[in-house]
Subunit: 349 residues, 2 copies
Amino acid sequence: MLRYENNPIVKPGDVQPSLKELKVVCAFNAGAVKFKNQILLLLRVAETAKDAEADYITFPIIEHTNEGPKVKLKSIKKGSPDLDDSDPRMLIYQGQPYLTTLSHLRLARSDDGRQFSVNPTPAMLPQADLEAFGLEDPRITHIDGKYYITHTAVSPAGIATALASTDDFKNFGRHGLIFAPENRDVVIFPEKIEGKYMAIHRPYPKHIGTPGMWLGRSEDLLHWGEYQKIMDVREDSWDCVRIGAGAVPLRTPKGWLEIYHGVDKDNRYCLGAVLLDGDNPSKILARSKEPILTPEAPYELKGLLGNVVFTCGVVELKDELLIYYGAADSVTALAITTVEEIINSLEPI
Amino acid sequence: MLRYENNPIVKPGDVQPSLKELKVVCAFNAGAVKFKNQILLLLRVAETAKDAEADYITFPIIEHTNEGPKVKLKSIKKGSPDLDDSDPRMLIYQGQPYLTTLSHLRLARSDDGRQFSVNPTPAMLPQADLEAFGLEDPRITHIDGKYYITHTAVSPAGIATALASTDDFKNFGRHGLIFAPENRDVVIFPEKIEGKYMAIHRPYPKHIGTPGMWLGRSEDLLHWGEYQKIMDVREDSWDCVRIGAGAVPLRTPKGWLEIYHGVDKDNRYCLGAVLLDGDNPSKILARSKEPILTPEAPYELKGLLGNVVFTCGVVELKDELLIYYGAADSVTALAITTVEEIINSLEPI
């Protein structure tokens, strides 16, 4: 696994804010896909208030107005006794959680998969209600000429997953929530298996259970069921606290290759891989004993949340596997490897 | 609302254990339905070990064996430093949650809706894997001659909801999980609305959001989506901590009548009601300002978990509405009222 020499490939400074009141603080966790001889990234762009009074934390949320959903700035005085701002990504004020940034999805294009130009305007903006706190972490699955995008939809109601679709990456259809809270890290397989669409998802149980990876099945991509847990966290391992799917599964001659993330007790996010049976992805054939990528580079160690590598998309280009990944919850980076190298590194189960 | 004079109508002593090693400790939270001129209850029967050494907590779970899934007794020494048994329903040992009882579903029959005879053997037993900790809280929906049963499936993987079906209440088809963890209190509407099946469900979010009531839609009852939150907890109210659907919604001339439970800060479970628009159940027309039933009778105040009334089923019989409810997580009781009385008690929204 090789880090691309010009990493990071997209930084917040490369992205124009969606509104003049906002500034871009993160451009990361991009879905990736080949489209018309180009590589497209669908970036998660996180913004916060451009100008904030020094004594206040000011952040954007989406609210209903007479003219439709609009960004509103909310301010909370620093040091308030009913404020918990210990997590850089989230704050809790008067018992209500808020996110410190508001994310939308933004397209970037490349001819070589390395140098990207970022569109000046958003591809998909969050709506009010179930997206009031933003759209996050898109994954793009190409099925029969159509591109399906799963993305996290965050709101005061919870962290859920919604589906969108597009033919041209200009117009996006929105299809509502496909997984109820709390459920994210949803990747749809690029073909039907035994007559049904399949997805990996990561429910986060409240009272019983660990945050592991589950399968679901669907006839129409909109309604899901037949849930089964396929993969769990591992004690005393780099993936002992929680795991979640990363990129859309890749069909290889040996089975489905899934790059996933694992989190350890120090809240370090690493990437690993798992090989699922080609005909029955509930069967795990091999899994990374050690991570295939750990946060080591400066841009992976420091950012909005340091010590994080997190992928939402990979692309096979010629003989290379290009792994696009968010680093330190702030920038987008590229790691270059091959499918063979990853599969050879796995430990058979 | 009148409590039936011979409450409780089913007690643990009325139910034969499913195995000689077990004793029945609760018979409660029954689904209810009219079937062939009878009223059927599908009881949740909770069992624990019959004989346990005094120094040990001993409880049953389901495990795989060569002969299929079997009940195994697990024992934990009382007072172990890594044991938390502060909740009478659940214990946590070495970081792993277990339930103190193992539940299955048992049929009881009545001609008048008041006097029930309980079948000597189970109707549905938990399987291993996703039901290893039991089947709970069934709700029965009659659609086109078939009876669909949603029930909680509890296991080390989480608290989820599964679907079963029957034509005759002798043979039950099992259809797997329809809601991923953590999600329970699922009731399916008895008819399609705008061409789709609908259900109320209660996801329990981990990081953001409150445990409120959501709608879901389905084309086939097996795969669900189009999720939207319709009803939330209310501050400083009897339903301020969490709410969940109770009985299957009842079509009335004024809309869908749903009896639900609400929990307050003292962990008191009460029953209330909500009227949903007949054509668009996401629209709330009226809701109980005060509970329609609060735990007051001795059998509601004391039991495995005292201060609880909780319904999984109501039946309309002549002009009466019979509300079957679990009391103190131990016995089954009956409250008698009318649809009109409940609707008149609601506060318009």
